[in-house]
């Protein structure tokens, strides 16, 4: 048999090679281009079976009427908001309790102790408090129905939860192919992505993370949950479905969604520099005097009953992240995140951010 050496080396751990570094391109420019690609490559998502059946019928009806994908169709409450929210907040994480707790040995006065190094909650999605959800969220769980196709793949938007003033939301998607939907990857935290080797892909132009709905996904149909952010104007809310094998991924279909203009109740702290809604929060880092180049390491919500919800903790004591998705936008200096739980905002007593405490009125 014959083997090309240059091809054998394509899988080499190339860290054995040392070169003089080049300054031909700037790191800032690479960040700009890479972030744009990430935003363009954001992907799709899910719904429960009952809701899915209902919405597929709706999608077929829309197609039969000849209404083009992306047409504005108004926003009405989804028939089964609890079902929609189940997939976002009640399912076990994909990691199924693979909580990562690691210790390292440290020497103190000649004695060896174990020190907690990692305490990662496996990105659990928290149990849904239905009373809280009904109070704050149900009116904003919209039934959708837009659909697009690329070759044998059909992408259907099933439902959306969107908080316009906050600039964040949740999206339910399905992607179906009667011949199979192989090619996607699922990371340990349940997030779905399409590697460069995938023959097809789905992507959002807006920042988002999509998680697989294990309960519903089959070999021929993906059910997916997307947590997305719209804190600044990235243009149309566009979803793409196309050829993943092509270098530029230009062979694709696109679907443009209208976003509702209203938002759910929220609380405003520090004169509006901190806003907390039932599904997420935004922080004006510049106004709070926080680092503009790093995201926030410590956020805790404390409630009237004395309980607390640690949204972020990244220090020597622990690494906790209960954000389903977070971005720190370099233009607006807003740090915006979606929670992995629905929060009873009327019960919030205070919010602590990097040691600064903001009392709720």
């Amino acid at each position: 048999m014959e083997k090309r050496i240059s091809e054998l080396l394509s899988d080499l751990d190339a860290s054995v090679i040392e070169f003089p570094e080049s300054n031909v391109v700037s790191a800032d420019r690479i960040k700009e281009i890479t972030m744009k690609k990430i935003n363009e490559n954001k992907r799709a998502l899910h719904v429960r079976s009952k809701a899915a059946r209902i919405m597929l019928i709706a999608a077929a009806f829309v197609m039969a009427l000849g209404i083009c994908a992306g047409a504005y169709m108004g926003f009405t409450q989804h028939d089964d908001p609890a079902g929609v929210l189940h997939s976002f907040f009640e399912q076990e994480s994909y990691a199924k309790g693979d909580r990562i707790v690691e210790y390292e040995n440290v020497e103190v006065d000649g004695e060896i102790y174990e020190k907690l190094k990692t305490n990662m909650p496996a990105w659990e999605r928290m149990p849904l408090d239905k009373a809280v959800a009904e109070k704050y969220i149900y009116p904003y769980v919209y039934g959708m129905g837009e659909t697009m196709t690329w070759e044998d793949y059909t992408l259907t938007v099933e439902a959306m939860v969107y908080d316009a003033p906050m600039g964040c939301g949740l999206l339910y998607y399905t992607i179906e192919n009667p011949k199979g939907v192989e090619g996607y990857d699922v990371w340990v935290n349940g997030e779905v992505n399409w590697p460069v080797s995938s023959p097809w892909y789905a992507a959002f132009l807006h920042p988002e993370h999509s998680y697989i709905d294990e309960e519903q996904t089959t070999d021929t149909k993906l059910y997916l949950c997307s947590y997305f952010v719209t804190v600044r104007d990235w243009g149309d809310f566009e979803i793409r479905l196309g050829d993943g094998g092509e270098f530029k991924r230009a062979n694709r279909s696109t679907l443009i969604l209208e976003l509702p203009g209203e938002g759910m109740d929220s609380i405003s702290l520090d004169g509006g520099n901190v806003t907390v809604s039932p599904i997420g929060m935004s922080v004006d880092k510049e106004a709070l005097g926080l680092s503009l180049t790093n995201d926030i390491d410590h956020i805790t919500l404390r409630f009237d009953d004395g309980s607390e919800y640690i949204v972020e903790q990244d220090d020597d004591e622990a690494f906790i992240s209960n954000s389903a998705y977070a971005i720190s936008d370099s233009d607006t200096h807003l740090s915006c995140r979606l929670f992995n739980s629905i929060i009873d905002i009327d019960s919030i007593a205070e919010v602590e951010i990097e040691g600064q405490v903001f009392k709720a009125e």
């Binding site: 048999m1 014959e2 083997k3 090309r4 050496i5 240059s6 054998l8 080396l9 394509s10 899988d11 080499l12 751990d13 190339a14 860290s15 054995v16 090679i17 070169f19 003089p20 570094e21 080049s22 300054n23 031909v24 391109v25 700037s26 790191a27 420019r29 690479i30 960040k31 281009i33 890479t34 972030m35 690609k37 990430i38 490559n41 990692t118 990662m120 990105w123 990857d185 990371w187 340990v188 935290n189 997030e191 992505n193 399409w194 590697p195 460069v196 920042p207 993370h209 270098f247 180049t293 790093n294 995201d295 990244d314 690494f319 992240s321 998705y325 977070a326 971005i327 720190s328």
Partner: protein, 178 residues
């Protein structure tokens, strides 16, 4: 932030962790790309370098903390080769690129892993300047003449090191896989 923590944050979807890696490795990844496609087309270099970081973002879950730099170099190299081919340009003809080996299988994951390990071991067993010459030629597609000029040695010496490297690789593959 340490590299393992940055990778952990990257796996959690933290874009600031990706920016941390970009700050750390843009110069290195750029050097890999420039070695293959040349330094004349800045936009193309930027595109390929950012592609490498984009793939890192996509596949962070599969990468070991100690392997980010090597992973980036490998991705950048393969992207640069793909780019050259998409432009209708082939990589340079290589000095005896084909190894003739007894049959072995790489159809299953075990076979592929064994092959990767054998290649890695063969490269690690080479000492300087043999390893650098071998990788410049077969990994970065630098012609013998350029390597001789860059490393200030006769072309025949470069060819000798390449031959020894090929023999080591062939020997290890035969020993471990057949």
């Amino acid at each position: 932030m340490t590299e393992s923590w940055a990778l952990r944050a990257l796996k959690a979807g933290d874009t600031s962790a990706l920016e941390w890696f970009i700050d750390r490795y843009t110069g290195y990844v750029s050097a890999v790309v420039i070695n293959i496609i040349g330094s004349g087309r800045r936009e193309d270099i930027e595109e390929i370098v950012s592609d490498a970081f984009f793939v890192l973002w996509q596949n962070a879950g599969k990468i070991k903390a100690s392997g980010v730099k090597g992973y980036l170099a490998g991705v950048a190299r393969n992207k640069a080769v793909d780019f050259l081919r998409s432009q209708g340009a082939e990589t340079l003809p290589l000095e005896e690129d084909v190894l003739v080996l007894p049959d072995y299988t790489t159809e299953d994951e075990m076979g592929k892993a064994c092959e990767r390990w054998a290649v890695q071991e063969a490269v690690l067993s080479m000492e300087w300047p043999e390893r650098e010459i071998f990788l410049r030629h077969y990994f970065l597609f630098q012609p013998v003449r350029d390597i001789a000029r860059l490393m200030d040695m006769p072309e025949n010496t470069v060819k000798t090191h390449l031959r020894r490297g090929r023999e080591k690789l062939k020997g290890l593959l035969e020993k471990e896989l057949t």
